[in-house]
């Protein structure tokens, strides 16, 4: 099977965004992204998708919950 750099880039895009690649892997992905419009477009989409998903999933704690949690602390005396 021949080596397909775009397929390789597609495989590493998530760990790349998770900052879990080694420096060498990261450099390889960055070099590919610099020279490949096809992957760069998709990379930019992944970045905006992550931001969008994070916002959608984010639900702050109800204000009174912290007080209820504090009430569970062990009394000092």
């Amino acid at each position: 099977m021949s080596y397909d750099p775009c397929l390789k880039c597609e495989e590493v895009i998530q760990p790349f965004l998770d900052r879990e690649l080694t420096e060498a892997e990261r450099n390889e992905a960055e070099t590919h992204l610099d020279g490949c419009g096809y992957c760069r477009k998709r990379y930019r989409f992944e970045v905006s998708l992550r931001r969008f998903v994070r916002q959608a999933w984010d639900e702050p704690m109800p204000p009174d919950l912290k007080q209820r949690l504090a009430a569970l602390r062990t009394p000092l005396f």
């Binding site: 477009k41 919950l65 949690l69 062990t74």
Partner: protein, 194 residues
Amino acid sequence: MTQIEPEADPRRIAEEARDRVRFEEEVLELADQVYRVARRLVGSKEEAEDLVQETYARAFRSWRSFTPGTNLRAWLFRILTNLNIDRGRRQQRTPDTQPIEEGDYFLYNRLEETAPEEDTERIVERLSQDSVVYALSAVPHDFRDVIVLVDIGDFSYQDAAQILDIPIGTVMSRLHRGRRILKRELAEEAVAER
């Protein structure tokens, strides 16, 4: 300066009380993060609140099992995920063998098919926030736990592995498959809404 040496026992008790108070304060500072993760692990706000309260009750009770200087966040989230599993919300294991055909670019490709000229950054706006929440609930629990810890909890793969007590390779494969399932759900939603 001369100090009256207190009896050994009262001093130890006082030190312990101080350590415990400090521990409890540090744990409480993490409450917002714990809730945000819990909220996406379970189906409703009420369940998330219950789960967080159980987590804190257990954390306060078992504070002695925390080793100072180690990762408090990971320790606390481990209690959370264990309690969530104990709640019996999953009896059956998710098979890891079901094939997923779609690659990582799948969602982009599907969305782009319908409006090729659009800006890359704008394409994502065709998804709705509700559909993103719904899509996560369609991801099997084993995969969802990992996605939530990494994407909402901001944990590294290594920390997620420690919290869930699974090998790091399993974290990576679940994340990989879970995100693809998520994208497949989002693509179906987006196409259905047209």
